[in-house]
């Protein structure tokens, strides 16, 4: 690496006999003297930039110090940016129906998606699809029975026949969660267009009714005969979750929270 420029002893390499620990002073001797301070005047630009920084800093201090009082807290106009354009609405103001379905999706992903897949397509020949399934889009009573009790034996779904077994889910989900899952699968993957008008959403009280009336161990398709109808209970609007006409409309005031905390 060294530019082996001359034979001068200063630049030449030491031979092996030299003890570099005691005799090597070349680094120290080629050094320039220890530094001192000069006396050039400070350049004008330094003073200008410094002045500018001082003004900005002082303005900042004046604008944000809150009167130097221990009781005043930061408030700066515009510190909270408005929601990103195109983003959703504020979480708290999301329509109740959307929250309901989001909860249903959580349950679905946790339990059902393992077999019926996240997109509800099932797995050909093994797990029937939920998308486009007449069992899902039909009456809520038979759907509730299937999920509560599980189902076994031959079943035809969307023109394909399956012969297998699904275990009951009545212990895994409470009424509210079950209602949310049912709402979710009825309202997703194009099923919403196929369900009867206004019966897409399922409420906890509907499920409670089904749970109380249908406890069928080892349920088969034959048990579902005659139950392709909707469970009793007020139908709710898919966005506001407010009860819509008919049904048990008299409980209007309390039905605002159809979620029915269990």
């Amino acid at each position: 690496m060294s530019p082996s420029d001359s034979n001068s002893p200063v630049h030449s390499d030491y031979d092996e006999k030299v003890n570099i620990l005691t005799e090597h002073v070349s680094a120290a001797s080629r050094e320039k003297p220890d530094p001192t301070e000069g006396n050039e005047p400070p350049p004008l630009i330094a003073i200008m930039i410094a002045g500018f920084a001082l003004i900005v800093g002082a303005g900042y201090l004046g604008g944000t110090n809150g009167g130097l009082s221990n009781d005043s807290f930061t408030f700066v106009e515009g510190y909270d940016v408005p929601p990103v354009p195109g983003g959703g609405v504020i979480e708290e103001q999301k329509p109740p129906g959307e929250i309901w379905l989001a909860e249903g999706k959580k349950q679905y992903s946790a339990i059902c998606a393992a077999c019926h897949q996240g997109n509800g397509q099932g797995q050909t020949g093994v797990y029937p699809p939920l998308a486009n399934s007449e069992w899902v889009t039909g009456g809520t009573e038979q759907l509730a029975m299937i999920i509560l009790n599980g189902i076994q034996g031959p079943i035809t779904v969307d023109g394909q026949s399956y012969n297998s077994l699904m275990t009951p889910w009545k212990d895994a989900l409470n009424d509210k969660q079950m209602a949310q899952v049912m709402s979710y699968i009825r309202m997703s993957w194009g099923n919403a267009e196929q369900v009867a008008e206004n019966s897409g959403m399922v409420t906890a009280e509907m499920v409670a009714h089904a749970r109380a009336t249908h406890d069928i161990p080892g349920m088969k398709v034959s048990h579902l005969e005659g139950f392709d109808k909707d469970l009793p209970g007020a139908k709710v609007d898919p966005i506001t979750m407010e009860p819509i006409g008919g049904g048990a409309a008299e409980g209007g005031a309390t039905d605002e929270e159809p979620a029915g905390e269990e």
């Binding site: 690496m1 060294s2 530019p3 420029d5 001068s8 002893p9 200063v10 630049h11 030449s12 390499d13 030491y14 031979d15 092996e16 570099i20 620990l21 090597h24 002073v25 070349s26 680094a27 120290a28 001797s29 080629r30 050094e31 320039k32 003297p33 220890d34 530094p35 001192t36 301070e37 000069g38 006396n39 050039e40 400070p42 350049p43 630009i45 330094a46 930039i49 410094a50 920084a53 001082l54 800093g57 900042y60 201090l61 944000t64 110090n65 130097l68 009082s69 221990n70 009781d71 005043s72 807290f73 930061t74 408030f75 700066v76 940016v81 929601p83 990103v84 983003g87 959703g88 609405v89």
Partner: protein, 488 residues
Amino acid sequence: MANPTNNQTAATDDALQRAAIDRSLRVPVIFFFTSGLAWLFVSLVLGLLASIQLHSPDLLGACPLMSYGRLQPAHMNAFIYGWAFQVGFGAALWMMARLCRITLPRVASLVVAGHLWNLGVTIGVAGVLLGEGTSIQFLDFPKGVWILMLAAYCVIAGYIVMMFKARREEHVYISQWYLLAACFWFPWSYFTANLLIHHFPSAAVINAAIGSWYAGTLMILWIVPIALGTTYYLIPKLVGRPVASYQLAFASFWSLAMLGGWVGLQHYMGGPLPAWMPSVSGAAMIFLVVPMVFIGLNHHNTMKGHHDIIHYSPTARFVCFGAFAFNAFILLGAAFSLFRFGKYFQFTHGELGYYMTGLYGFFSMVMFGAIYYIMPRLMGCEWRSGKWIRFHFWFSAYGTGAMLIALIMAGLFQGRQAMAFDQEFALSVEVSYGFLVGRSLAWCFIILSNLMFLFHVLLMICRLGRRSGEATYIHPRDREHEMKPAQA
């Protein structure tokens, strides 16, 4: 051009004295450099793991030891207390001895204190990894370790102060101001913060505030003065001219001294603290631009006409890079303190970018420069290869540059997303994915460059450097244009 004089005759009394000083400091300074470098390496590996953990959490498995929440603080603390402090000790001891013209007669207790310091760092880092950390930024070490560290620190800093007291050179040079001040500033904030947070805790908010104050002062009152002391020593030394302006140096030192203690709380601007606290800190951060400009101009004027040393001298190149990064560090700090701008970076990767600019781009680069300067004097041999130094420089330079950009961009995206409180918080992590991968890549650069450096240092320590009277340059020196005799 070179005076073909004999080595012995060229060595004046001065040079002999310098060589004697170097010899007396060999053991402690090499000790601090090597253990610092070992910690640097540990820290870099931890940092890489932490960085990977952020974008590919499945890669390292679910072991709690490998969680980001432990790796990242372990990495930062190892970096600061393991590497930055120790290399700082080494450089400060050496410069102080040189400037005071003191040969250290006994160094035993210095080395013992160094071992204690290392013990403290080891316990601390292990504690953090085992989940015993305190989760207060830069004070993550388990409670109690600080007492050991502070004790060791006092002995080491005590040596520096004693050297100053016993100085044989009347003139007190700028570097000495900084080094001496740092010796006193750091224990002040370290002691206060630890005592108040660990032993007399008050409301959690106040603890958080003290923590942020400490993190700020650590940077401005230890990292900055140590590195500045080094630049003030090395730059004029290398060009062989006095520092351009005493007044500028004086003004910048005292403005730093007056502002340094106020910084840190801008970290919680908009938070549940009385408005004046972050406001005062933020203003201090902005005022720091004043010393920054003074120092930058001073160095620039000192080097006037000698900028070519950056081309061939390893020390000059690293130190000048560091001096540049100092500007970036201070400007980022000022910018992040402005509500309008800083709100997007608050609590994001951007803040890490700020710290890494200061710790690596500025401090570490200056220290590398110092090691390149000091090591041959202590070991009596020259660096093996200019090519290796070049490698170290470029990989480090690109590494820090890339890391700063990656972290700032990641921070910007993350911050914007985090402020959109109508959207899921997790999104704010996802949007910065690409930049986090970039950060890991930048780490790889830095690790690579330091592997080279470590190997180079190891050779030096084993006295396997070049046995030569000529310094090792990055590029061959163009002697045609030199005005002064080579041995000046």
